[in-house]
């Protein structure tokens, strides 16, 4: 199950797009901006392009090596392992939060009375199943799912056409640009910057050229769907997006075509589930892969279930209301994640370049 995967560039695209849409479909990104959240998303994406360039550079510098391998090469075995462990902790926190968010969503909207722990166990074990089946299955699944999510986003927007009020966008430009930048920063780290985990997967998928093409277009598809959904929410709900817990869900609830096509929101929430599932499994997979690489194991198969147990416990104990989620996503998470998404990557890159330079010079001395 391990080794080189016949994963096509389109599958990489699908993986990235689904990953970006993952939990961000649930929450409205840049909610604090109200009707300007689309500006926040664009800002975040533009900032992400820089990150993307950085990741691309790293992929090209040492093709065939994972993030963990690069860290070890840059900082040496000892320090490298410490940094890798930190990365694993980041992945683990991310995974717990993703699972926690989904359980939270289901538990507050669809299955109210079902105990949270049961849902956590259920979702984690299903993710574990996919991880055991390997990346190939996840990639193939996401290829189909990205179609579902994309078309649903478009179709739902069309169905809501009679509810759209374009005056909701006015005034077009915000007064408080600082807040836009601040929100762009938090959108950069969630969801765009989280693609850093793919650095630990991509090395097995073939050359950096092929992968980065999928990477780039995947993020474009992702940001496109996010923008469509954000604009639709604003157009339908107006200023109410600021106050809604799940704005996309709220706006879909309003669909009513001839009293027949109505009550579509549960179907939509399934769509979110699919995206979240892909995200959770990808993070899960890279977590297993990282552990495997750090401890020099032959296979990660045996790590899947013990990690599942840890994830269940952590996701269950993590914050459980949306207020806490928003605080975490806006005030805490960006400052924690940026270390792994930018600072450490930058450090690794610089170290590698220095080492390369030294290595090139040494023979001449």
């Amino acid at each position: 199950m391990e080794g080189k995967y016949p994963v096509s560039s389109r599958q990489v695209l699908a993986l990235i797009a689904m990953f970006i849409l993952g939990t961000s479909l649930l929450f409205s990104l840049g909610q604090e901006l109200g009707r300007h959240s689309w500006l926040g998303i664009i800002t975040g994406f533009i900032a992400f392009l820089f990150l993307f360039w950085l990741y691309y550079f790293l992929l090209k510098l040492e093709p065939g090596k994972s993030l963990f391998g690069l860290n070890e090469q840059a900082f040496g075995r000892g320090l490298g392992t410490v940094i890798n462990l930190w990365y694993l902790i980041y992945f683990f926190v991310l995974l717990s939060v993703v699972v926690g968010n989904f359980v939270d969503f289901i538990n507050s909207v669809i299955l109210i009375q079902t105990p949270e722990i049961l849902l956590t166990i259920f979702l984690t074990l299903t993710a574990a199943y996919a991880v055991k089946k390997g990346l190939e299955s996840i990639a193939r699944l996401s290829e189909i799912m990205v179609f579902c999510v994309f078309t649903t986003a478009i179709v739902v927007t069309l169905l809501l056409f009679d509810k759209i009020d374009t005056t909701n966008f006015w005034p077009l430009w915000p007064q408080n640009w600082a807040l836009v930048l601040r929100s762009g920063f938090s959108i950069l780290t969630f969801p765009f910057g989280e693609t850093v985990i793919f650095l630990s997967i991509f090395y097995q998928l073939g050359g950096p050229q092929k992968v980065s093409k999928g990477f780039f277009w995947g993020s474009v598809v992702g940001v496109f769907v996010l923008l469509v959904i954000a604009l639709r929410n604003i157009a339908v709900l107006g200023e109410f997006v600021k106050f809604s817990t799940y704005p996309a869900y709220d706006s879909v609830r309003l669909i009513n075509i001839a009293r027949f096509i109505t009550r579509a929101e549960v179907v939509i929430s399934l769509n979110y589930m699919f995206a979240g599932y892909v995200k959770a499994t990808t993070v899960y997979y890279s977590l297993c892969l990282g552990l495997k690489e750090i401890f020099r194991l032959k296979t990660y198969q045996h790590l899947v279930l013990p990690i599942a147990a840890l994830v269940i416990l952590n996701a269950h104990l993590s914050f459980s209301t949306n207020v806490q989620n928003v605080f975490f996503a806006f005030e805490v998470y960006p400052f924690f994640a940026i270390i792994f998404q930018l600072i450490l990557i930058l450090a690794t890159l610089i170290m590698l370049l220095i080492k390369k330079q030294l290595g090139r010079r040494r023979p001449t001395i």
Binding site: L310, L313, T321, F336
Partner: protein, 77 residues
């Protein structure tokens, strides 16, 4: 009751993994598995006995808010 269910879940996990582990000759693998497994078990038991209440995401939250000097809103725990 909770103890029994936790033990049974972990037992289930172990039973699933045992045949594969037995076949595997790599010692490293067994050690890592053992560590993860026992950490999970210990964590679960600690949570149940009420000694530990925090998860890893929550620790991150506390640490970052401490460094940023902001207050955690009261809705937390």
């Amino acid at each position: 009751m909770t103890y029994i269910s936790i033990i049974s879940i972990f037992l289930g996990i172990f039973l699933i993994d045992y045949p594969g582990l037995k076949k595997d000759k790599d010692l490293n693998e067994k050690i890592v598995y053992g560590i993860l497994f026992s950490v999970g078990l210990a964590y679960a038991l600690l949570i149940n006995s009420g000694l530990v209440k925090n998860s890893l995401p929550y620790l991150v939250l506390q640490a970052v808010s401490f460094f940023r000097g902001i207050k955690i809103p009261p809705a937390f725990h």
